[in-house]
Symmetry: C2
């Protein structure tokens, strides 16, 4: 059968609307779960208000940033307004703003449901693990459906309205620039609160986690929401949009060369099927007889993966798509799963790395750190090889179709990997919800049985997180390779307009490319350093505040009836610090990119992007896995191994966990977004770099 | 004036002989310093014997390794023996062995003088800081002169005898493969002993550093010699040879194209002048009126640098060399100094990073680690930009001379940077000598005045080390870029013979290149992880042994007269462990290189080398600077800041220092050698990769 592109665009819109309806149904389902505990409702409201305070302040700052960026885009992109077509600039600026708004909406929906689901999950735990799991999972799924629905709807609308892939890059840049700040800001917020709460509470005073006496405890729970739900949602929204944008930019340039229309259809068709598969996966998720939440989460992921493979094969057959393209997307998905499993090995508490780090902790914190860093470094190899092989396989599969198809194959592998992202986000957002539920159960005094249930749900969240994180980094890896392809397409489009020579690639042996490579490689290191120093500074501020409260509020330390800490002071510090620290890190990244482009032109930028991708992937994998490894080593010791809680090994493991926190929840996952932003800035500014750079 | 290449080869030989004579004179001078203290002589002998034990065992293992490698070379390189010219293979195998022997000799000379100079320096401190400084400095200079003399002599002889740059790559590979193991093995040895001695001695028992009751104290002092003197010497010998080899390979191919002979002369002439400048710098080094050892070390470096600049300018004018080439080498030297100064900023105890890490330590070890890692990441930016700019400047300077000269310019920038390596090594080897002297003064009970002098000499060694290390990494960076150029020359030479197409570069957009890039980038991480895990495992073994001795040897802990620990047991553990751990790390690196080459051919290897260089430089800079930063933060606190010795901040800083030790003395500096080895393996195997790979 032959269908027009418009057919697939309409199907995409319908599927994304279905996902919104489904998200609405899930939202109502969660909201209608019973809740009666007054104390939990109180604390839940505190968390909700704290999260809203942060989001309001953050989005106010970001709205200003987006406004400035939109004006700059209006004046300069895709070509300076006095040189090119004014309408193009207006479309680009609007597409950019559209991207930021979509990203913000996805974040707000996530926060809204997460701050309801946490309460419901905590209370449901009184009736057993199954209802509690369902509340947590379906709460997470609202976020999953909303993000993927927004992606598909946004991309489709931009293409329907503008039919211009450059505008699509503008939309993607809007999503990225907001994700950069949401992820980094949320990451700084959450880890500031988490570290400070643990440091004073657990380490200095020896009071339990989530103890209501701790002034940072609400900020900590707010942090789970703004960092892990809103930030992570923005991050995956960004990756998802970027992967589609890269594929569509390359497809459009293939289209132009061939005069066909099949290519873009495939992208939309596969993306729509991925969303459908995720909807089915979410809808059928149930906990098995033995009540193992990890299995429940993983099995619904496998259902989604299998469904995607089968349905896309069917579609390929029905709509006469290229089988080689299907192969590329299948390879992408497969390798994504493999990378996830490899990440799991390095962070799973039944495997050697966790055991060895726990053992090393017996000799003191220095060895916890050294062994964790070492395993973190080692863990990069399988993932890097996985990404390398999937890129190579996608290339070899699609190269025979025709010139230019090799890079399209890589882009479709990324689309394939990200196809099940709805499921991934559902699993990922489940984590902070049940983590919050655990805190609420503790603060609401629901008893040890309930805590045991929420603990087991929380632990499943951590385990699954390692897999999904590996998956997300792998997908981002392929996406940014595809974005490099999109960059070349953009450069050549501009070159045609300017009457310049086409470029075919970036030669490592060209010292201008090498110049870019070296500087690009150092950016992820500098970016993550700035974020971590931000957490460091901010946590020191908050620790002083907690000390002050324990000193000045009489009866607080002793837990005297009716004495409550000033929770909002801690939330304020975390909010203010996060906003203060995130802006320089984001700006430095963008400014250096622009400088390199104006010094070395597109060749330097090609090298710069490549260096950025490579060292970014390396550091993101290292930091995420080392962080997860330290977290689980601590938990492993806490469950009675190597001396158990309170032993020297445990103290050392806590140091490891504290170092790992900003690794895995602030810097590591923000690097993905940093790479995407840099790639998109480069693509959008390609005309300027072509015409205004010092060297060529 | 016009002179033949042979003239410059003879001059090089004469200059290298002068450096040997000068080294001999320095050796005698140090040896003739008075020494009388019996206890020091005893301990000195223990250290000497320990070092010799390790070297003998290490070189026995390495001789076997080199033998196997030589046989493999004989059979397969440059072309399989049944396909090519047998004589070529014999020359290559001999050149390889020649390289390993030269490297081993440089190491042995270094150890011999270092284990004499430590005793002399300790005793001379009784007469004041100036004579003590001179003993330490001239001891280090013996190593400096020997290494650079060997480099120049070895390279010159290989060229005189074979007149074949491929054989020179074989010589360089011999030097590299030995350096890889010497640096890694020595690095594991020294940090095993250092960490274990500190952990049990300083942390658990609270006895001073270098206390003779500590069973690991002799192993610790031996480690300074085998790691920091022999290992470092092998490392810089390797870089130095590689930089000359890369320049000569490229010069030879330019020669072939142009039919001239000027190019190779420049390399030898500049290298000879660099050695001469170093000799003069060493000979004129004196401590000033105010007795500041840091100033004395730095000022002799600046004398050498200035002399090199002036003399090479003179030579360029006299011998009609290209001024642009001179410019490239001057740029290299200048940027080397700038990188050194930038490294200094991040590790100097009068600057912000050290103060902030010390401040962060007040909140606990997790913050020591987080802030140290963050500054370590930040510290990569100036150095990466420096290397990027020097590569670009050298390119822009030399590109106008003619096609191919751009890469030659980069190679000459590396030669320029490494020209003053004689001085650098002298300063570097001074460090472990005075460190040892400090230990001897402590163990020989020479009193607090003497300890104060050796402490101040030791501290100067640490400060200068930061500069020289930055310098060494910068030089290695340019060298490996030049080696990439040498790789292309080799590939194209083979391509001519095989009747294949010439390659001009490696396109990032070619997925086979990208495949190589991703895998190559993960190798330095994996390599350093294996070394650090080796130190970790080995230190755990040694800590158990120290515990055993304190438990079983009665009176040892109390310091009963006549009770001595079993020092040799600790030396044995360090030796055995180092040899056991270094082999897998080295082999994995080489095997993955060969696999990538046979899968993806020369294009994959081009990407692989590039990825390796970029992530290797990034990690080497990060690890060296973070390690130095932690070391100096600890010392800064010990000198009375942030609570001083024994405070919580101090305990946290000790954790940082322990993590930093294998960073800066095992993994960080070994990465340089790892990159060189991989580059040379690739160049040597280029014919095999061209003919036998699965993909092309």
């Amino acid at each position: 059968m032959q269908f027009t592109v418009t057919f697939f665009l309409l199907v995409s819109i319908i599927v994304s609307l279905i996902s919104f309806l489904f998200a609405g149904w899930l939202y109502q389902w969660v909201k209608n779960r019973p809740s009666s505990n007054k104390r939990i409702a109180e604390v839940g409201t505190l968390i909700k208000n704290g999260a809203n305070t942060f989001l309001t302040k953050e989005y106010t700052v970001l709205a200003k940033f987006a406004g400035v960026a939109a004006i700059l885009i209006l004046v300069f992109l895709p070509t300076p307004i006095w040189k090119g077509n004014v309408l193009d600039n207006i479309v680009m600026a609007l597409a950019y703003l559209f991207g930021t708004v979509f990203s913000a909406i996805a974040g707000v929906i996530g926060i809204r449901i997460a701050t309801i689901a946490n309460v419901k999950t905590a209370e449901a735990a009184q009736n057993g693990i199954k209802p509690s799991f369902m509340s947590g999972f379906r709460g997470g799924a609202v976020m999953g459906m909303a993000v993927v629905g927004s992606t598909l709807l946004g991309v489709t609308l931009v293409m329907l309205i503008t039919n211009n892939t450059t505008a699509l890059l503008g939309f993607s840049f809007g999503a990225s620039s907001l994700a950069l700040f949401a992820k980094a800001g949320g990451g700084i917020f959450t880890k500031t609160a988490d570290i400070s709460a643990d440091l004073v509470g657990k380490v200095e005073l020896g009071i339990p986690e989530d103890d209501p006496r701790n002034p940072a405890v609400i900020a900590d729970n707010v942090g789970d929401n703004v960092g892990d739900v809103a930030g992570m949602g923005a991050d995956l929204f960004d990756s998802n949009v970027a992967s589609m944008a890269a594929a569509l930019v390359i497809a459009a340039s293939l289209d132009k060369a061939a005069g066909g229309t099949v290519n873009t259809s495939t992208v939309f068709c596969y993306a729509a099927i991925g969303l459908l598969a995720s909807i089915i996966g979410v809808a059928t998720a149930r906990m098995g007889k033995h009540g193992n939440p990890t299995k429940a989460l993983n099995s619904s992921t496998y259902v989604t993966t299998a469904l995607f493979g089968v349905l896309t094969a069917l579609a390929t057959w029905m709509f006469n798509f290229q089988w080689r393209i299907w192969g590329a997307s299948a390879v992408g998905l497969l390798v994504g799963v493999i990378i996830g499993i490899a990440s799991d090995y390095f962070t799973d508490d039944t495997k050697k790395p966790v055991h060895n780090v726990a053992k090393a902790s017996e000799t003191g914190p220095a060895f916890t750190i050294l062994s964790g860093i070492s395993y973190g470094f080692l863990s990069t190899l399988p993932a890097m090889i996985g990404i390398a092989i999937s890129a190579l396989a996608a290339y070899k599969l699609c190269d025979p179709i025709g010139p230019g198809y090799a890079m399209y194959g890589i882009a479709m592998a990324a689309v394939g990997m990200l196809s099940i992202v709805g499921m991934i986000i559902s699993n990922d957002a489940y984590g902070p919800i049940v983590d919050n539920a655990r805190g609420l159960a503790e603060m609401g005094d629901l008893g040890d049985d309930v805590l045991e249930i929420t603990d087991s749900l929380d632990s499943a969240g951590n385990t699954v997180k390692a897999v999904t994180k590996g998956f997300a980094i792998g997908a981002a890896g392929l996406t940014v390779i595809a974005l490099l392809g999109a960059f070349i397409s953009q450069v050549n489009d501009s070159a045609v307009v300017l009457g310049l020579e086409q470029i075919t690639g970036f030669d490592i042996m060209n010292p201008i490319v090498f110049f870019g490579l070296l500087i690009g490689a150092s950016i992820p290191a500098v970016f993550s350093a700035m974020l971590m120093l931000g957490v460091d500074r901010n946590a020191q501020r908050m620790v002083s505040e907690i000390h002050r409260q324990f000193r000045e509020i009489l009866g607080l330390k002793e837990g005297k009836e009716g004495v409550v800490p000033e929770y909002d002071k801690c939330i304020e510090i975390a909010t203010f610090g996060a906003l203060k620290e995130l802006i320089p890190a984001g700006l430095v990244t963008i400014i250096i990119t622009v400088l390199v482009g104006f010094v070395g032109g597109v060749q330097a930028i090609g090298g710069y992007l490549c260096g950025n991708i490579i060292s970014g992937l390396l550091l993101a994998l290292f930091m995420s896995n080392a962080g997860g490894l330290w977290d689980n080593s601590k938990k492993y010791i806490e469950s009675g191994n190597n001396g158990g809680k309170g032993s020297d090994a445990h103290k050392a493991a806590v140091v490891g966990d504290t170092v790992g926190d900003p690794f895995k929840d602030t810097a590591g996952p923000s690097i993905n977004t940093q790479i995407t932003v840099v790639s998109l800035v480069s693509s959008l500014m390609s005309t300027l770099f072509l015409t205004l750079s010092i060297f060529h």
